[in-house]
């Protein structure tokens, strides 16, 4: 029974993946990719990877979807959204088929699993959720660099602005009917999202959740509020927002350096301090992730003028 469920789910995932690559029109491809993220999130739920399911639902489906749809809208207005008729391309199909087959072969050729033994390490990690323990303690350096990757992408996106627009607020100038459905939605959703996002960060220490998932939820409701015209997007020149961007990485790096200065070692969390330290880092990181993700999706300042 359970295999039938997985088979049905995987058939849908594959079908949606195929639909997002086949056919004409990038709009349809983008819509399929949104549903794809949702189905893959269910797939992660089936695999028992609940933290990943949460991340995929929030990032893979939610934020990437808005990103793609907004990009499509901009391209359509620039008359660059049209796509030529898709033709079957044999060399590409051979390459794709070859890659798929080699991974299929690899799955059956893999030796017996040899996961690292975490039994002695987990009790010292400070948090009960093993995924959070890996992200914030065992492999904290990865997570720190990853939060910086987000930041680098944001600076890169800002570099796409026209020089004339540089001082303008980020993204497009969103507006909506003040008493309309969208505005009401933009007022109701953020408080709920705020509570849920904070809950996810707090709960992530012991169960499903974490800074990235919580930050994504906060970014998403912030985006809704901005698109509904409730909240005004910041400008690059606003120092408080830039401080919010770097807060998390600074706290993270600062705690790592404190460990080194106090003799424990770089990025080392003494067992007694591990839990409060992780929660502090996660709290700061959530703020930065939320702001960074929201601004990433918002895009560079764009006043809609023509390119000089």
């Amino acid at each position: 029974m359970s295999a039938a469920l997985d088979l049905a789910l995987c058939a849908l995932i594959l079908g949606v993946g195929l639909a997002s690559m086949a056919g004409r029109g990038v709009f349809r491809a983008a819509i399929f990719f949104i549903t794809y993220g949702l189905l893959v999130a269910i797939g992660w739920a089936r695999l028992g990877a609940y933290d990943v399911a949460l991340a995929e639902a929030a990032i893979g489906s939610g934020l990437t979807g808005v990103l793609l749809l907004a990009a499509h809208g901009r391209l359509r207005r620039l008359r660059a959204a049209a796509e030529s008729l898709s033709r079957f391309n044999l060399p590409a199909a051979i390459a794709g088929g070859g890659v798929a087959l080699s991974f299929g072969w690899a799955w059956f050729a893999l030796p017996v699993p040899r996961a690292p033994d975490l039994t002695y390490a987990l009790p010292q990690a400070g948090v009960g959720n093993p995924v959070t323990a890996v992200l914030l303690n065992f492999r904290a350096w990865d997570t720190l660099v990853e939060s910086i990757v987000l930041l680098a992408a944001l600076i890169g996106v800002w570099m796409m602005a026209r020089d004339a627009d540089w001082d303008a607020p980020l993204g497009l100038r969103y507006h909506a009917r003040p008493s309309g459905v969208l505005a009401s939605f933009g007022r109701i959703l953020p408080p709920v999202g705020l509570i849920f996002g904070v809950y996810l960060v707090w709960a992530g220490a012991e169960s499903t959740g974490g800074a990235f998932q919580g930050g994504t939820v906060l970014a998403a409701v912030g985006l809704v509020a901005m698109m509904a015209g409730i909240m005004r997007p910041p400008r690059v020149a606003q120092g408080a927002w830039r401080a919010a961007l770097v807060l998390g990485p600074v706290v993270f790096l600062g705690s790592g350096l404190a460990g080194a200065a106090l003799g424990a070692g770089f990025l080392t969390l003494p067992e007694a301090l591990a839990k409060p330290a992780i929660l502090t880092i996660e709290a700061a990181l959530t703020v930065s992730i939320a702001v960074t993700l929201a601004l990433l999706v918002l895009g560079p300042p764009d006043e809609g003028g023509q390119q000089a």
Partner: protein, 104 residues
Amino acid sequence: MSLTIFALTGAALIGLGVYGLLARLHLLRRIIAFNLIGSGLFLFFGATGARGEILDPIPQALIITGIVVALSASALAVGLVVALAQGSGRASLPEDEDAEGRAP
């Protein structure tokens, strides 16, 4: 059984993404293709991490990191595509435009 289903789905998704990346020239489509490859890879990885008696948390943590990195790259790529279209009116690379332009 179920794990094999997920792993092979992941393998097929990687292949699909590779096909799309090579065969489709519109840059937004290529960005989706990258995401498909990444996601298929993660699905494969997730299946390998679930083979043992207890679920290995390290692949899960790596996958979450990977999802965030993929979003960063996608956002930068989307920004580039829009800026490119603003400057040139095209959303494909110059060397691909002939191929793209010939189509009806």
